[in-house]
């Protein structure tokens, strides 16, 4: 009774709709103002400026000098640019498929566990909290030629391990292994999706005589395909940005004792770890060729944008449509 009265009083004293709409608009403005400023300063402006710088020669000290398409023309003849493109494409193709397949496999196993689910899920997720630098060094220890546990393990089967991170053929797979080890977040996302598949669908399939494997293929997989698509796009974006693991693996394997300074550790061995962002960083922040780095950044933006556009369309359909 009192509640109804309160409600009625509140309704009478609440501001008329017109005024409240203006007020709400002003509130929206106030709430988003810092974010809008931040977006402009740290995303919109630098994005436009990157494209602008890409048409100049600029070394941070002397003012930028108009160079037209010179940076892009130089790019076409730059062997290491193409090496970095090839390396990054390798990661986009191999790492993306491996990461989604691996996460799906792990999640499918965890989903079927009856006991120890919590423990196994925790163990799978823990590595993804590891700083990328640390995770890379961990694998560098595990995959030490001759002395590491991986080689010891292979030795039981009479296999002699390669030089791993010092071998141009094995450095990229080594980095991919690091990234797979830390992909627990994708596993949890896929696991949540698998557990969300309605039980009735499984039961119906079971009544029809479908075994576990067939149910996984015909019921689970189709139901979680949006999440798998998310995993694919997310992994592509990740592969396009691959930087830290490549730099750390390269410099640890080359034994170069510096963080900036010399460039002999970049892409070690034989430029096999020279990813697109690594070459971009080297050009811009070690050679101070900001114009060329900006041209590469523009190319990276276009590539990421293609992947992003796909994800945004996907997300618009998959995120809850708000009612407010």
């Amino acid at each position: 009774m009192t509640a109804t009265l309160d409600r009625a009083r509140a309704a009478r004293t609440s501001p008329p709709p017109g005024r409240s709409r203006t007020r709400r608009r002003l509130t929206a403005l106030a709430f988003t103002a810092p974010a809008a400023l931040g977006f402009t300063l740290f995303f919109a402006y630098p994005l436009v400026a990157t494209v602008g710088f890409s048409f100049t020669r600029y070394d941070l000290i002397n003012p930028p000098e108009w160079a037209g398409l010179a940076n892009y023309a130089y790019m076409l003849g730059d062997d290491l640019f193409w090496t970095s493109v090839r390396n990054t494409l390798w990661f986009v193709v191999v790492l993306t498929s491996a990461r989604v397949a691996f996460a799906l496999g792990v999640a499918s196993v965890i989903a079927r566990l009856r006991s120890g689910v919590g423990l196994v899920r925790t163990l799978c997720y823990l590595p993804s909290l590891t700083p990328p630098v640390a995770a890379t060094l961990v694998f560098f220890l595990l995959m030490r030629p001759n002395e590491g546990p991986v080689d010891a393990f292979l030795g039981w089967f009479g296999v002699e391990g390669p030089l791993w991170f010092a071998d141009p053929a094995w450095a990229k797979p080594g980095i991919a292994a690091v990234v797979l080890w830390v992909s627990g977040d994708l596993m949890i996302i896929i696991l949540a999706a698998i557990l969300d598949v309605p039980r009735e669908q499984h039961e119906a399939a079971e009544l029809d005589g479908a075994g576990a494997l067939r149910r996984w293929w015909h019921v689970t997989l189709p139901s979680i395909s949006p999440v798998l698509l998310f995993g694919v796009v997310n992994s592509i974006v990740l592969a396009l940005q691959l930087f830290t693991q490549a730099v750390v693996a390269g410099s640890a394997a080359s034994g170069a004792a510096d963080v900036t300074g010399s460039t002999k550790n970049i892409g070690f061995p034989e430029n096999s770890t020279l990813t697109f962002p690594v070459w971009l960083y080297t050009q811009g922040f070690r050679y101070f060729d900001m114009g060329y780095a900006s041209a590469m950044a523009t190319v990276l933006f276009v590539a990421s944008f293609a992947a992003t556009a796909l994800l945004v369309r996907r997300l618009r359909r998959a995120t809850p449509q708000e009612e407010g």
């Binding site: 710088f53 120890g116 997720y125 823990l126 700083p131 963080v259 945004v312």
Partner: protein
Amino acid sequence: MTTRRTLDWIAVHSAGLALGLMFALPVVFVLLTAVMSDSQAFTADLWPREWHWGNFLEVFEAAPLLRYLGNSLLYSLLATAGMLLSSVPAAYALAKLRWRGRQAAFLLVVGAMLLPPQVVAVPLYDAWSSLGLTGTLWPLVVPYFLFDAFSVFLLRQFMLTIPQSYVDAARVDGCTEFQALLRVVVPMARPGIAATALFCFLYTWNDYFGPLLYTSEVPEQWTLSLALSSFKSLHQVQWNLAMAVTLLVMLPAIVLFAFAQRSFVRGVTFTGVKG
């Protein structure tokens, strides 16, 4: 039938056990190496002959780790605090307020979230350098006080799950939007806010590109990630010390996870496509 069930159970659980080991063993090897003697760490031995727990103290003499720890904490804590101040209201506006351009703003947030940091690095570095602030932690921390795309995205996802009727009721009761946010939405979204703060802390704690870009030339401003990447090279043969530092850098994340496992898992599932 029952034999088949039993075999199935055994197969699934051995696979689970193998997976658990695969994820856990690398950390066990790191721990074992970290407590070996200098000479043994260089060999193929997997089990320490003597346990040198003192290695964990020795690394503090080998490198100014406390200083790096301080820098890492400064970066992560300030960034997380700044993120909360700027992103909570922005996420509220995206999730609970009706205004024109809201959909477009959300798309911009998603776009910014997926933009590789390398794309915008050159002009940002140029700007910070002309302000004379390269070589400090300012360029890393300041952006969080205005905007962090991932946090806004995640917080919005959490706030969408709070029924609109609660917010409407608060409005009818005469709350301003600010009061509705502070008294209704924030308390209800607390688990989501905690998860977002954890992710922000972790991201900055683990960040390598940012500190490398801005502070690599000023060793006093190094963060732990940056210091760790040079530690292995500087102490070439001392695998034990390198791994002791590695463990120390991993520790905060593991401790945080132990205390806030639920928040982490909730946050991760929300980053995906779950509503």
